[in-house]
């Protein structure tokens, strides 16, 4: 097949185009939120959060039936309660945020399972928790677009307090900033994006998009500006690349995108200047002195 066909054939159908657009949009969001997540040591939050959505979904189903809007709303509320609850518990008690969050999400998850066992549906829990990027509808696309736009706007408007609070919360506070509001606002933004991502793309892909591009970008960039640009660009490029790969190599699309990012990570670990293995090995090859133990 020709090169043009290679790129165009997978996207003949609407559902593939939607998959690409959703992945690209959430990749953009994740590429910008990801570095902040990593810098704030919240990298692993997403996986735990995904399970905490269950009781919200169960209650929404119970009260409103299988309406997608209600289910999304329920998931969002559950996620926000978990994240914000964890933050508040850690501020008000001696318990650190990761433990508080861990405790809360487990309780939520258990409550969700219990609630689900009483619901009139036999669909598996995973159907409610996680989406599939190939199953994104036009409605889903609109919701994601709105969320990503809102995220970009919020990040632009509050970029200064956010960056300052991430870097030096003490200074932020000393200059009149509200660390609490900034932190909670950031959490809310992350939860919003994660929930949207989980419900449309599933857990592997959304966590991959929110984590890997920033990790890779950090290996190449010393400054925050270029890091954010590289991170988002990587997410976009690997989304497209991953979908292409999944089509031509018969792989599931979500994991294919993450594998693409993983490949870039491996390459970066090997080749990035200063931190990469190859440049370091090369530097060691150059003649230099040595320290040795001797008996004479």
């Amino acid at each position: 097949m020709s090169l043009v066909e290679f790129f165009s054939e997978p996207f003949r159908h609407d559902f593939m185009r939607r998959a690409l657009i959703v992945s690209a949009m959430l990749g953009l969001s994740g590429g910008l939120l990801g570095p902040l997540l990593v810098l704030r040591r919240m990298a692993l939050m997403g996986d735990a959060l995904s399970h905490s959505l269950l009781p919200g979904i169960a209650l929404a189903w119970l009260w409103f039936g299988p309406s997608p809007a209600a289910l999304f709303g329920g998931a969002l509320i559950a996620g926000l309660l978990t994240a914000l609850g964890g933050a508040l518990v850690s501020r008000l008690t001696v318990i650190k945020e990761d433990a508080a969050f861990g405790a809360l999400f487990l309780v939520f998850f258990a409550a969700g399972i219990a609630l689900f066992s009483g619901l009139p549906t036999r669909l598996p829990l995973t159907h409610f928790l996680f989406g599939n990027i190939l199953g994104v509808s036009a409605g889903d696309l609109r919701v994601v677009a709105a969320i990503v736009l809102a995220t970009l706007a919020a990040l632009y408007i509050f970029r200064r307090p956010l960056l300052l609070e991430t870097f030096d919360a003490c200074f932020h506070r000393a200059t009149g900033g509200s660390g609490r509001l900034t932190h909670l606002g950031f959490l809310a933004l992350v939860v919003l994006n994660l929930v949207a991502g989980l419900q449309t793309m599933g857990v592997v892909l959304v966590l991959g998009l929110f984590l890997l591009p920033s990790v890779v970008a950090r290996l190449w960039c010393e400054r925050l500006g270029p890091l954010l640009v590289l991170s988002s660009s990587l997410a976009l490029v690997c989304s497209a690349g991953g979908i292409l790969l999944s089509y031509h190599a018969n792989l599931p699309s979500g994991p294919a995108i993450v594998l693409c990012l993983g490949g870039v990570l491996l390459l970066s670990l090997l080749c990035a200047p200063e931190t990469g293995l190859i440049p370091r090995a090369y530097a060691r090859l150059r003649p230099s002195g040595r320290v040795r133990y001797t008996t004479d």
Partner: protein, 257 residues
């Protein structure tokens, strides 16, 4: 002797408690504007707490703090705080100039762009702390003293009138210490007030014109020569009288200036 000494910081019977532990008890003093004030005392005597209380970060169990003539919460832009250094992630992808630029953010708010005047102040701050050559270097590539100067420059760029420095001389070598002392004197000359937690008594006596000696209670406050006497120090630090010899040597030590 100046006709009136304007007191920029006034504490009246300030008590701060952390849970059941009392950190500061009944501290009352007045600190003159434009002076260099050393805060001394043994570990755990409430020195850092005092600085943070001035920022409004600790609820006061009793008493009040007056800054200028406005209550602490409204005076924040005039206060610059330099904590003990550990709370920063040194691998954060920022370079020196970017950190100093942060000093201008409180004045600019969410949206206003950096003007030429802002950039001028930033460059001035970098120059004052001898960081111009290092402006493009990432944080993790700096030495401890250089890192501390970056944060001092940021406070300078902020345009603060009162500097609250928590153990600023910790980990500084001879030259850096000398530089910092010179800077403090220059700031005083321009009317800025400096409060610094200092462990070296000789340094405090020779380079700070005011001193506060704390041991949860206020032992003494006033001109440093009057406050940092052997008697007061023995009381504050709970030294046995057999340590008179040590105190003797402290009294006569001088610091290169």
């Amino acid at each position: 002797m100046p006709s009136t000494t304007h007191h920029i910081l006034r504490l009246r019977d300030v008590t701060v408690c952390h849970g059941r532990v009392t950190a500061l008890r009944g501290v009352s003093t007045e600190l003159p504007c434009g002076s260099a004030i050393a805060i001394c005392g043994p570990n755990g005597s409430g020195k850092s707490t005092l600085l943070r209380a001035l920022l409004g970060w600790h609820p006061l169990a009793s008493g009040e703090i007056l800054i200028g003539d406005a209550h602490p919460r409204h005076a924040l832009p005039r206060l610059a705080y330099l904590p003990q250094r550990q709370t920063i992630d040194w691998d954060f992808p920022l370079h020196v100039r970017a950190v100093v630029e942060q000093g201008r953010l409180p004045a600019l708010g969410l949206f206003r762009r950096f003007t030429a005047a802002d950039h001028a102040r930033i460059s001035e701050a970098l120059a004052e702390l001898d960081l111009t050559a290092l402006a493009d270097r990432p944080l993790h590539a700096l030495s401890g003293g250089q890192q501390q100067r970056v944060f001092l420059a940021r406070s300078l760029a902020q345009g603060a009138d009162i500097f609250l420095l928590d153990e600023p001389f910790a980990g500084l070598d001879l030259r850096a210490t000398g530089e910092l002392l010179r800077m403090i004197r220059a700031w005083n000359a321009r009317g800025r007030t400096v409060l610094a937690v200092v462990h070296d008594i000789a340094l405090a006596r020779s380079h700070f014109n005011h001193a506060l000696l704390l041991d949860t209670d206020l032992i003494a406050s006033g001109p440093s020569a009057e406050v940092l006497t052997a008697e007061n120090i023995r009381r504050a630090y709970h030294l046995p009288s057999a340590a008179e010899e040590a105190l003797q040597s402290l009294r006569t030590a001088t610091f290169p200036s």
